[in-house]
Symmetry: C2
DNA sequence: TCTTTGCGATACATTGTGTCGCTGTCAAGA
DNA sequence: TCTTGACAGCGACACAATGTATCGCAAAGA
């Protein structure tokens, strides 16, 4: 008995400062902190070793809590990742909402929100969304560069666009490969559409984005 | 000895027809078939139980081979999924290449390739790419609907676009939520950009796609 | 001071992971 | 015809990860 007590006591001593000393604040606050620590640790581990290689054991050790304790917070790695993902988007959403509510001319608000969103996307080059289905590759081999086949896909479209630009059919103020990336991403929206008509509108939308802009780029210039 | 021989023999009998009888064709062909069967089974299991819950054991059983044998083909679930993903894109690429090489007017080829790509995206509503980072959610809970926060994000942008459309600043021939989806996807391309200038061009590109189209939608009309 | 509350840890049974070594089949050459 | 090298396949073993059941202990309130 005294032995186990000793062991427990020493293991408490061994705690890093990551997790609050226990009942340091109210229990609710404590739980929230542990929860967040778990989310952070999991994101870090996922980025480091790849999503598929993150284990509950690793997470628990990294956070500095017992593995069984972790199960009192989350039932699985999957659930943790989902929660983390939700938190990410919520954060983005909050930021963008603030921007949208600034008192600025209506058009300017749209421009600023979209600009901010683009910056957010740019930031997280890890866990990045790639052209069309690449979430798999992106998540599976964390650090990996774009899959070769994917690159060839972009090259194919890029070549078509370069030809079209040379013929004057599409704008030439943006490099063809950027146009290609734009197209492939934009058309990725087709995955979440319901009707065929919506897909057609999407394609039209994308194609018209490739056109040379009108003389008056008032909205776009900001 | 005779016992083990018997066991082996009977286990051969027990084989389902999925995997060819062994040396039925050349070894290379056989291996290719097994490989493909593994890829198919894995994709199916991933779609069914979620990517994180696919195990080598399951795959082996599903294909009808021993688990140890599976390891002679692939070292990990991750490797299988990557290979599957590469195969998918390669298939898409081949289809699109064929379309691109048809003898048609240059502009029409671009339109057709992009249209075909949109259709491909539309098909695979499972394993789908969602707006911006949703690959996580999309893959983690296979059947799940879009994460709530994500929907709110689209709603936010959709509302801004609706206002702008009412004010005549953006086109009104496409529903605002479709425009929002288009924007978010298109800006997702920012994740793979390198320079700030490229991000700015991307934002401009996206914004100009929201403008009312010009009188002459020659290219777009096809 | 003593009870209540609920967090955290140890322990255990189950399932999954890599790997090793053996068996059996085929094709080629003695 | 018989031997031999190459190679696919499987069983089994040692170890890691997973969930769960049970216990001990710290803090808050009477």
């Amino acid at each position: 008995m005294s032995l186990s007590r000793l062991i427990v006591a020493s293991s408490y001593r061994a705690y890093p400062s990551r997790v609050p000393k226990l009942w340091r604040d109210t229990i609710a606050a404590h739980r929230r902190e542990v929860r967040d620590a778990v989310l952070d640790a999991t994101a870090r581990l996922a980025g480091q070793h790849g999503v598929l290689n993150v284990t509950m054991s690793q997470i628990a050790e990294d956070v500095g809590i017992g593995r069984a304790t972790l199960y009192k917070y989350f039932a699985s790695v999957e659930e943790i990742l989902q929660t983390w993902h939700e938190r990410q988007i919520s954060d983005h959403l909050q930021l963008l909402t603030e921007i949208a509510e600034r008192d600025a001319p209506q058009e300017a608000r749209l421009v600023e929100v979209l600009g901010a969103y683009a910056q957010i996307q740019r930031q997280r080059t890890d866990h990045a969304a790639h052209p069309h289905g690449s979430e798999l590759a992106a998540l599976l081999h964390h650090d990996a560069q774009v899959a070769p086949a994917e690159r060839r896909l972009r090259d194919l479209v890029g070549a078509l666009l370069a030809d079209a630009a040379a013929a004057g059919a599409v704008r030439d103020d943006v490099p063809p490969d950027e146009l290609a990336s734009f197209c492939l991403h934009a058309l990725g929206a087709a995955a979440s559409t319901t009707s065929d008509a919506a897909v057609q509108r999407l394609v039209r939308l994308t194609l018209e984005g490739l056109q040379r802009p009108r003389q008056d780029p008032a909205t776009a210039g900001t």
